[in-house]
């Protein structure tokens, strides 16, 4: 049905043309789900945009042919192209929050779309819209259709987006990371729905994603992309079960398994990084010299955090919203505790309570035998400010983009009065960069000159330079590609083993937590569902919620037969 041959897209820039995708070929049959997998910058979305004719200016299709059925997609007039979009090719976007107009009722958005492509009365269009909503599993559709997008939950909203894509009976739907913004439970529902639609309506899907687990779960065929080129293409079983290209196998190796704990991720180019480690020795020695005291642990008992709720009346006090309810656990000295939960479960709030950014309403936190003062009662000079360091989720916002790396790194040294001499601070920062696997000349660059993974390494270096004893990692790898994720996880494991750090590791990704943690806490709606040894929880979960999470997480099958 869809046939793409040696497609190349270029972007003119002030440095000459940049080739975004090169020589891409693929075909999608009716009812087939074709997965397009690759890391960020691989050109996956550009392929989708080129097919639907929405390449961002000034990008242009340089060579190649694209056809949908009998229609040549490259030689369409603007009017024809406009007509084809929506009618025969639709698109599902990543974020259901932004792909629906928040000020229009779902009804109006659906009717508008149907009427734009067909000469049909509003009441007929409305009937069709209700039918589609019912088909994709929205109960009570004739009433719900009158609601605004914000009145739907995230998963329901993504269903509405799918309905919007479906309502003109397209032949091909391009789904660009359709489940990336969703929690696992919702993700599996949406994936099931896509599979079902492909089967029942014979719609071809192009599923663009970075998550190999998702591909393994529902795609019929898969193309692996890297740097604008398709490296490998074939049936899912063939490509993932018996990868031919080394990049595909490296990608598969980097995916953390859910069913077992491995010591380290296999890295194809690890030897390259280990040279010149002698420069990092200085930093290592410095860190070890600070290890005069024992490892410290953190006990949390009866911790509650409440936020003021939304004011409903001018006179009444707003009801408070309980973000964390009676949290009790212990991070044993020198161990890694994994904290898992879906979005909104209170994971980050817990991290903020421990660091003193949020004031708990009750409860006690004891770090290494001493109680931590709550919220603002904890002064700037409190020793825990140095002992606890944090690594954040988004390496693009956790480093001040206006400061050079050297300045970012020497800040903790200067602030805590660890090293008085400016030159010494600089040397130590450079050595620390080496320890986390970066070149020491990185010290004079700005953060934007680094990739996401390198920035996260800088963030790790910064936290280590404070000589912390307790490290909080809040989703440290969720913004990163799998291969980079594997590198960072390896790095964290190495550092933890070397320096005996105590780590609280927060993630929504069960497989990552399994790889990292000794103990695990499962959090849901601010309450602890399960707490225990990692192995026990992953192999013999007792709480229903944990079982559900484990069963819904997309995994790579062990064997493909």
């Amino acid at each position: 049905m869809l046939k793409v041959e040696n497609l190349s897209v270029r972007f003119p820039s002030r440095f000459g043309d940049i080739t975004a995708i090169e020589d891409v070929a693929m075909s999608i049959a009716p009812g087939e789900i074709h997965g397009l997998v690759g890391e960020s910058g691989a050109g996956k979305s550009t392929v989708g945009a080129a097919i639907i004719g929405l390449l961002q200016a000034p990008g242009y299709v340089a060579t190649g042919s694209m056809s949908l059925g009998e229609t040549d997609l490259r030689n369409l007039s603007l009017v024809e192209a406009h007509h084809l979009r929506g009618k025969r090719i639709s698109m599902i976007f990543q974020d259901p929050q932004t792909s629906l107009n928040p000020l229009m009722r779902v009804e109006d958005q659906l009717i508008e779309t149907i009427q734009a492509h067909e000469d049909i009365s509003a009441s007929d269009a409305r009937k069709r819209a209700v039918d589609i909503l019912e088909e994709i599993g929205i109960k009570n559709a004739s009433d719900r259709i009158k609601a605004y997008p914000h009145q739907f939950s995230g998963g329901m909203r993504q269903r509405v987006v799918i309905a919007l894509a479906l309502c003109t009976n397209p032949e091909l739907i391009i789904a660009d990371e359709p489940t990336t913004a969703l929690d696992v439970a919702v993700q599996s529902q949406v994936l099931d729905l896509i599979r079902e639609l492909a089967n029942s309506r014979k719609i071809g899907f192009m599923l663009i994603t970075h998550d190999i687990g998702v591909i393994a779960q529902i795609a019929d065929r898969v193309s692996v992309m890297r740097r604008g080129k398709v490296l490998e293409s074939g049936t899912t079983r063939q490509v993932l079960g018996d990868p031919q290209h080394p990049y595909t196998s490296a990608l598969l190796d980097a995916v953390p398994p859910l069913d077992r704990k491995i010591d380290r991720f296999r890295m194809p180019d690890e030897e390259k990084q280990s040279n010149g480690k002698d420069a990092g020795d200085a930093a290592e020695a410095w860190l070890l010299q600070g290890r005069d005291a024992d490892k410290i642990g953190l006990q949390i008992s009866g911790l509650c955090v409440e936020f003021p709720g939304v004011r409903t009346s001018l006179w009444r006090k707003p009801n408070s919203f309980t973000a964390l309810n009676d949290i009790n656990f212990e991070v044993r000295p020198g161990s890694i505790l994994g904290l898992v939960g879906e979005s909104g479960s209170g994971k980050s709030t817990l991290a903020k309570a421990i660091t003193g950014l949020v004031k708990p309403s009750s409860g006690q936190m004891i770090l290494g035998g001493q109680e931590l003062p709550n919220g603002r009662q904890r002064g700037r000079g409190h020793p825990s400010r140095q002992m606890i360091q944090m690594i954040f989720q988004d390496p693009y916002s956790s480093l001040n983009s206006r400061h050079r790396v050297g300045r970012i790194l020497s800040e903790p040294l200067w602030l805590y009065g660890l090293v008085d001499d400016a030159n010494e601070r600089r040397e130590l920062s450079a050595a620390m960069l080496n320890l986390v696997g970066l070149e020491p000349d990185a010290i004079d660059k700005y953060p934007h000159q680094f990739s996401g993974g390198q920035r996260q390494r800088i963030a790790v270096a910064r936290s280590l330079l404070a000589r912390p004893r307790f490290l909080i990692c809040d989703e440290p790898t969720s913004a990163l590609d799998v291969s980079i994720q594997a590198e960072i996880l390896n790095l964290l494991k190495d550092l933890q083993a070397k320096f005996g750090l105590t780590i609280l590791f927060i993630s929504h990704n069960l497989a990552v937590v399994r790889q990292m943690s000794d103990d695990v806490v499962v959090l849901r709606n601010g309450k602890i569902e399960e707490y225990g040894k990692g192995q026990t929880i992953f192999e013999n979960p007792t709480a229903d919620y944990t079982k559900e999470l484990l069963s819904l997480t997309p995994v790579l099958p062990k064997n493909w037969n």
Binding site: R14, F15, T355, G356, L357, G379, R380, G381, H382, R385, Q386, I388, Q389, M390, F392, Q393, D394, S397, S398, L399, N400, S401, R402, H403, E411, P412, L415, R462, A466
Partner: protein, 301 residues
């Protein structure tokens, strides 16, 4: 040269924007002329001895009876229009730039602190800003001018005119800076690098000025240029209304006020030449501000 320009995105964008280039040329010559007015101008319009009533009301050179000594003609007192405009622009720019500087320091300081601390402090600052916005800028200026006239002894009043005018304009402009700085600070406060700095236990002053300020400089620079234009206009308006600078030390607004008397009497140049100059100056500063906004906002690129 081309390679050098390509290295810097802003310069590269600049070479592709004819409007920005023209605006930059106009602004450059106006500011250059204003700074070096004493060297360029043929006469000093403040020096009564340097001009003669006999030369009064001469038209520009290209009209009949034009005198090549006075390129753009003279006013009723016989003052050379070119010199008057250069000296007028000098005063206008001095007042505009110092008013803008005071407004920036005051507004950014308050806005940063309001955004950082939030809560009650934020509320107080923002309510004061709201009140300030409810008063038209001219009214604020009139008020301060009135107070200054009331409390200052008459001898110093003449000498302090420029200072009073500057303060009046600054006080009506600081709100823009405070609001923008506060809103941008709120955005930065959510960023993890700021949280990291707070968790580390850095001093609030340091977090505000070392971490947040450089990151909100973009929008502030844009407001600075736009508000520089507003300040010049406000000064011109006040002078035009007669509460700004007196006729013996004319700014652009004063020149326009004097020219008003000749609008319909045939001596058009006395009104129109300073007016066109003022409009050109303000428009070019605004275009440059717009251009800066495009440079600083990656999404508009």
């Amino acid at each position: 040269m081309i390679a050098f320009i390509k290295r810097y995105e802003g310069l590269w964008l600049f070479t592709r924007s004819p409007a920005a280039i023209i605006a930059a040329i106009v602004a450059f010559f106006s500011i250059f002329g204003a700074i070096f007015a004493p060297l360029i101008a043929s006469v000093n319009p403040y020096d009564l001895a340097s001009f003669s009533l006999m030369d009064g009301l001469l038209p520009p050179v290209w009209e009949d009876y034009g005198n090549p000594k006075f390129l753009l003609g003279t006013d009723d007192q016989g003052r050379d229009m070119v010199s008057s405009i250069l000296y007028g622009a000098r005063l206008s720019l001095i007042i505009g730039i110092s008013a803008m500087t005071i407004a920036t320091v005051l507004g950014v300081g308050l806005g940063l602190a309001a955004g950082y601390y939030g809560g009650r402090f934020d509320m107080i600052v923002m309510r004061i800003a709201d009140i300030q916005l409810a008063l038209p800028a001219i009214l604020t200026a009139l008020l301060i001018d009135g107070i200054a006239r009331g409390i200052l002894p008459t001898e110093v009043q003449q000498d302090l005119r420029v200072a009073v005018l500057t303060l009046a304009i600054a006080l009506s402009l600081w709100v823009n800076f405070a609001r923008t700085a506060r809103a941008s600070t709120f955005v930065q406060m959510q960023k993890e690098y700021v949280q990291a700095a707070i968790i580390m236990g850095q001093r609030p002053i340091r977090v505000m000025f070392v971490h947040i300020l450089p990151n909100i400089l973009g929008p502030l620079l844009v407001i600075m240029t736009v508000d520089l234009a507003s300040a010049i206009l406000l000064e011109a308006t006040l002078s035009f209304l007669g509460i700004g600078l007196p006729a013996d030390s004319p700014s652009l607004g004063t020149l326009i006020r004097i020219g008003m008397q000749f609008m319909l009497s045939g001596e058009w140049w006395i009104l129109w030449i300073p007016t066109v100059f003022l409009v050109a100056l303000v428009i070019s500063i605004n275009i440059l501000g717009d251009f800066l906004r495009d440079v600083f906002n990656p999404r508009l690129r």
